[in-house]
């Protein structure tokens, strides 16, 4: 077979697998995470010309929790598609689904890009065989479904991987194992300084998306240092965008006179108390439960690499794990940074095992390891991504949207939505910004003592078990008494059973479905929509 054709086939295998695992049934699986609503709301604000920072007065109360590139990127990409106007949005279920579909397809495409970038990184640093294995694992291992959600980790991942890739293309060192690739002369070669600067820009953008990405500074910085021939000047060039881009965030707060808010919410975010279910240990446990094979293989491979004095995979995971241990408030999806390194470590180990088998048996047999793992992963991933866990979600969402009247000129409607934290905020971005139905809301999670008064005559309740518990608490609040009174006089207009975890069983992979909604306050069971108007 022609070498060029073989090369394209080898890269197409992981890309096709990745396209399947990340773009198939994006509406059905996984469940819509509450953070997706937050990031989409902020992207909508950018699209409306209101910038990346929510108002401290009318927006989500936790103002300065993350930097801005996440919403800028989302808004930029969606805006290029004419989103949301190009969908002719309405309050019906199909419209609500379409509005969720586009950003999820975007995230799926980013994950396919991640697969390609990991292939190129591994090919550059190691070999094409290891690159195929690593990128196939990234494409199809079960935990890769986390990249299907609109999350900051998924948005920053291609920028992080691109930063690593550019660092690996710096030429000034003999410290590359695959000499053939290092020595290959390409007409597309770029100058070292540009590569270094680009690496810095992409890492800076990753950190400007979410601050914990700074834990990748040791990895990429070390690569730049050694690949540039231990040049401190190169490190200096690289470091400028790495530091200055994230500094736009505090700079913004200073310019708008809200540096105190910035400091307050940054410290709040970094000092969030771990609960029984949100700890570093539980995050690791959940990661393992969601994908035991990649965890075991990945750790084994990283240890094996370190023994072989290749510290790249270890350097990739160590800072983020140490940071997570120190910060304590960690969830499984915060550990996505380590997933590519796990795939890389696994690939190095599998490649080693393949070589040993090939020595003693027929070479074809040596491929049995990766084929078995891939086959198993395809089955497990297919079992997950073919689920429909969101159908009731879209029905509840559409019902809420239909019950809020439209207004002209963005005049506030005479409706207050009261429900659990999950529903009042998750249903906000479409009703408020896409359908132009601005309304008030009361969130018992952020206003636990019900200090906020109902300001409208019309109230729409989203009754779910979490909300019903919150209004049944013994609280000395006139506002709560009023809410209870309105609630008692309201009429149920629709009810649904949220089926988000109904497929849960004791066996893998369905035993991981409760983890999918863990710690986000996603109410399950009956969700009733009531109104008093």
């Amino acid at each position: 077979m022609n070498k060029k054709v073989k090369k394209y086939i080898l890269i197409m295998i992981p890309l096709i697998l990745s396209a399947y695992s990340h773009l198939w049934n994006p509406l059905g699986f996984p469940s819509i995470h509450i953070d997706e609503g937050h990031y989409m709301r902020r992207a909508m604000l950018v699209l409306e010309g209101m910038g990346p920072q929510e108002s401290a007065n009318t927006g989500y109360p936790r103002t300065y929790d993350h930097p801005y590139f996440g919403q800028l990127f989302l808004a930029g990409a969606l805006g290029l598609l004419g989103y949301p106007a190009s969908l002719n949005p309405d309050s019906d279920v199909s419209s609500i689904q379409a509005l969720h579909l586009v950003p999820r397809i975007l995230m799926g495409l980013l994950a396919v890009l991640d697969t390609f970038l990991l292939f190129k990184i591994t090919e550059r640093r190691y070999s094409r065989t290891i690159a195929v294995i690593a990128s196939v694992l990234f494409a199809i291992m079960p935990i890769t479904w986390v990249f299907r959600r609109v999350s900051l980790e998924a948005i920053l991942m291609p920028f992080l991987l691109t930063s690593i890739l550019f660092a690996l293309f710096v030429r000034g060192s003999k410290n590359i194992q695959n000499k053939a690739l290092l020595n290959s002369i390409s007409k597309y070669e770029m100058s070292n300084n540009v590569l270094i600067f680009l690496s810095g820009i992409f890492l800076g953008l990753a950190i400007y998306t979410k601050i914990p990405a700074f834990t990748m500074i040791p990895l990429v910085g070390t690569l730049v240092f050694f690949y540039s021939g231990k040049s401190l000047k190169s490190i200096g060039i690289w470091f400028i965008p790495v530091i200055t881009l994230p500094l736009l965030w505090p700079l913004y707060s200073v310019l708008v006179g809200q540096s105190d808010l910035w400091a307050y919410w940054v410290f709040w975010q970094s000092e969030r108390d771990p609960s029984e279910t949100i700890t570093f240990a539980s995050a690791l446990t959940n990661f393992f439960k969601l994908d035991p094979i990649i965890t075991i293989l990945g750790i084994s491979g990283i240890v094996y690499s370190a023994i072989k004095k290749d510290f790249l995979p270890l350097m990739w995971i160590s800072p983020v794990l140490i940071f997570s241990y120190l910060i304590e408030w960690v969830q499984y999806f915060h550990l996505l940074y380590v997933f590519p390194a796990m795939c890389l470590g696994s690939a190095i180990l599998v490649d080693y095992a393949q070589k040993i088998i090939a020595k003693h048996c027929h070479p074809i047999i040596s491929y049995s390891i990766i084929l078995s793992i891939t086959g198993f992963a395809i089955v497990i991933t297919s079992m997950l991504i073919n689920l429909d866990v969101n159908s009731s979600y879209y029905n509840v969402y559409a019902t809420i949207a239909q019950q809020i009247p439209s207004t002209s000129n963005k005049v506030q409607t005479n409706v207050t939505v009261i429900g659990s934290h999950f529903w009042v905020w998750d249903s906000y971005w479409i009703t408020q910004y896409v359908l132009d139905k601005p309304h008030y809301l009361i969130d018992p999670h952020l206003d636990s003592k019900f200090k906020k008064q109902v300001q409208t005559n019309n109230v729409l309740f989203v009754d779910d078990p979490i909300f019903l518990k919150s209004i049944s608490r013994k609280i000395n609040s006139e506002n709560l008494n009023k809410i209870r009174e309105i609630h008692n006089n309201s009429v149920e207009i629709a009810s649904f059973i949220d089926n988000v975890t109904s497929h849960t069983t004791d066996s893998y992979p369905y035993n991981g479905l409760p983890i999918m909604i863990s710690n986000e306050g996603h109410p399950t069971g009956k969700v009733a929509i009531r109104k008093n108007y």
């Binding site: 401290a56 007065n57 800028l72 820009i201």
Partner: protein
């Protein structure tokens, strides 16, 4: 720098310009009353402290600063009439404060109870998120502590401080109660 490097560098700079432009070039809404309240705490008034109630959660130390008594119980601030902000002819709000305090020795061998009743308001003031109420109370003591303190003490000066509508400090005049509650105030929580 070759041609490709120049082009890529130019595109990168353009991208950076877009990011900076997206960050800063937009309509601004810098209003912030809600969040500012949370940080600096909003000023309180009579309405905010009316109908508050909660638990007494405090320790009393001996002269060697060793915990000696555990104080627990309930407290409540309520209007004297149905109207929350009703004021009397002197312009002072008509509020009543009452509390029950159970004192249990650290070793668990001794227990006695107090009731703080018949509150008479002298003055009330507000400093940002703190309410300071001064008045007098009657202290009624029950069970086996009569040797240490009179069973009924009237017109005992008391200072009540409500902080951020979240915590309470009760300062009972030490001389009137023969240092019965030690040198530190009694603390409690709202809700």
């Amino acid at each position: 720098m070759n041609a490709l490097s120049s082009i890529v560098f130019g595109v990168a700079l353009l991208g950076l310009t877009l990011v900076v432009n997206g960050t800063f070039n937009h309509k601004y809404d810098n209003s912030r009353p809600l969040t500012q309240e949370k940080i600096e705490q909003r000023p309180v008034n009579v309405t905010d402290i009316m109908n508050l109630k909660g638990n007494i959660i405090s320790l009393q130390y001996n002269d060697s600063s060793v915990p000696e008594w555990i104080l627990s119980g309930k407290w409540q601030i309520a209007p004297k009439t149905d109207n929350n902000t009703n004021t009397n002819t002197t312009g002072k709000p008509e509020i009543k404060f009452s509390s029950t305090i159970t004192m249990t020795s650290i070793d668990g061998t001794k227990t006695h109870k107090h009731r703080l009743t018949d509150f008479k308001l002298l003055n009330i003031s507000f400093q940002n998120s703190t309410a300071i109420i001064n008045g007098t109370i009657s202290l009624v003591t029950s069970e086996d502590d009569f040797g240490l303190i009179d069973k009924d003490l009237e017109n005992v000066p008391v200072g009540i401080t409500i902080m951020n509508a979240n915590t309470i400090r009760i300062d009972i005049d030490n001389n009137s109660v023969k240092q019965h509650f030690g040198s530190l105030p009694i603390y409690g929580k709202i809700g």
